[in-house]
Symmetry: C2
Subunit: 421 residues, 2 copies
Amino acid sequence: MNYLELNKEKIEQLLDEVNMQCNDVKAQNYKVDISRGKPCNEQLDIAMGMLSDPALLQNMPKNYRNYGMLDGIPEMKQIFADVLGVKPSNIIVGGNSSLNMMYDAIQRALQFGVCGSTPWNQMKAKFICLVPGYDRHFAICEHFGIEMISVPLNEDGPAMDIVERLVENDDTIKGIWCVPKYSNPTGCTYSQEAVERLAKMHTKAKDFRIFWDNAYAVHDLMDQTDKLANIMQIAEKYGNEDRIYEFTSTSKITFAGAGVACMACSENNVKDVISHMSFQTIGYNKIEQYIHSQYLKNVENINEIMKKQKAIIKPKFDKILSALDETFAQDCNIARWTKPNGGYFITLYVLNGCAKRVYEVCKDLGLTLTKAGAPFPYGVDDDDSVLRIAPTFTSNEDLEIACKILVLAVQKACLEKLLER
Amino acid sequence: MNYLELNKEKIEQLLDEVNMQCNDVKAQNYKVDISRGKPCNEQLDIAMGMLSDPALLQNMPKNYRNYGMLDGIPEMKQIFADVLGVKPSNIIVGGNSSLNMMYDAIQRALQFGVCGSTPWNQMKAKFICLVPGYDRHFAICEHFGIEMISVPLNEDGPAMDIVERLVENDDTIKGIWCVPKYSNPTGCTYSQEAVERLAKMHTKAKDFRIFWDNAYAVHDLMDQTDKLANIMQIAEKYGNEDRIYEFTSTSKITFAGAGVACMACSENNVKDVISHMSFQTIGYNKIEQYIHSQYLKNVENINEIMKKQKAIIKPKFDKILSALDETFAQDCNIARWTKPNGGYFITLYVLNGCAKRVYEVCKDLGLTLTKAGAPFPYGVDDDDSVLRIAPTFTSNEDLEIACKILVLAVQKACLEKLLER
């Protein structure tokens, strides 16, 4: 059914039916939340063994319990290096949160500059924000008063013509946020060409940094998986290796709240970061790092763990995708959505001007979605069309309910909007 | 023997004897380090059980493994609240490092101000540094370009007349570093009067903060223990509760590199800190917090753990103190030292102008001391008389050697100096 071709009478009739179904649903007093990209308990169960296995600790060097080793233990550096395709000397192992490492990197750049550049606090610094994107990235910029310039994220990566033009002409544009693989929230992975252009583009700011949040480096969902080009290697080829700040963590491999994070960057950057970090802390939790290294072992074993993760969450993605497929034909013109091969999110695009209304209707029916607008700087989606769906945390039972509510809400909001025309 | 009364001949004779002994020692090629306040392996062994005890995890709420709970879990808040004599609502539980929480607190104040005040970056902010004091506190100020004003730390706490006069007249003096109990490095504990005056003094800066680094809150060494007045309670009495940023951690209760840290402050401050922290991270490691809470249990049990710590390190302090006692009479006039009831350090005061030389002679003989000057802002001890002794990390065997070298080096440096007169 192509909703755009419906006449007023038909719209009213459909809306009546949808409203009746909404009433039925509302009477059930559901309470379901698909707003955050959190792993579910079954996923978190996978790693429970690492918490109380004396064997993992058997050969731990005694000094790992003490102060020191600011940049992390070699065992964990090696694993992160292998996951990201860099050298262990490119790795700084952190605490439990890669977001914390990103925030700190921005705060350091504001206060001290990077590698000796002028502190970003001393100018009106700007960042390029690909949209739709990750709300917590944008929130950091907003908090620090860094001006955000929205640039579309296409299916194959950033709209590079626009990015290149911007960074070439404005030396106060200091960085860009990227979730290059299984992007939050669209699930897209940047093409080889996009990565190459990011790595080699000319930036007027000599201290420009790509914040490469590779959060979903090993987080495949489907049999068909995406391959992300190695930006560190490519940047090195063009002499731009200092441009890259890469981040990842085990948050969605072991425990969301108790994993291990890392930053990967050129040796110049490592030196610069450590020169400040050495005043901030004596070192992160090396016992945690060691236990992780013994549990994760190597990339092959991480991939085995991720297969277990996939077995739990793929059916959840399938459920949402099927519900959308069953309700909305390809030519319906009121809803389309991404079909990611990995990561934690589906992006649902609804008829322009309807996303907020879908959010409200869902809320009214007992389903919490990520706030409409959240994937945009300042929370403003000019088209009011994007919704982020996070299927992982919810139980399969609740996800059935979520699907029912979601498709109803999309129908209701869009039919209402069509009636206004 | 009163060294100041020796004639030149006697000094030369003693110096000859000391030099001969130094030659003997040097021939042994010793390599001993008493430079850092690190626990020894035996101390770290105490807590090993907590790392692989499934019983500790048995009742852990499942959501502790996931994202969230930015300010920490209630179980750990309760323990820190009891240790510090505050309410759980005053506690923010952090990662593994209280230093990191202090650094972040300063960085936030520079970038954003505190509780809505003007960002400290927008002025030439100054801090009062009590001397001798903790080098890492001073290093944070130096790194951020915060000007340091040295004020003497007496046996009963800060020279309060000076502190009061300074803060009353200069609104760019924004804070003071304090290690109020078993101070680093003198081991002194602030008197009730000193705490009271700090809590009630008039500060021209409305956003003045006392950085109350209560690192050694439960770290008794001797049968006679010091009691520290509860500054949060006293400050509240004077309506100055927002003035206090208190910090502590389990670094020297469980693992130096893998403990749990906290910040304690008024509810206004908690709200202010969290309003920024919420952009920095989704939460610290709650599994770590939970394991700690189950292992530590309560204040009584912590005191039991600390008795085990004491049993290991008291003999080390005794060894140093005895060696000094045996070599230097009370009226020797070239060396005096503190006799702390707790903490991690002994401060050794040598004849003015001799501390650096003692450090060098020790180094030459194979003993690494904390650098002379380290306990002072910018690393400069005007009197060149203070040395920090950290006995805990070294084995008892090596500590014998350390004592031998230390007393020789003090004699040598001071005799050389006396000869110059």
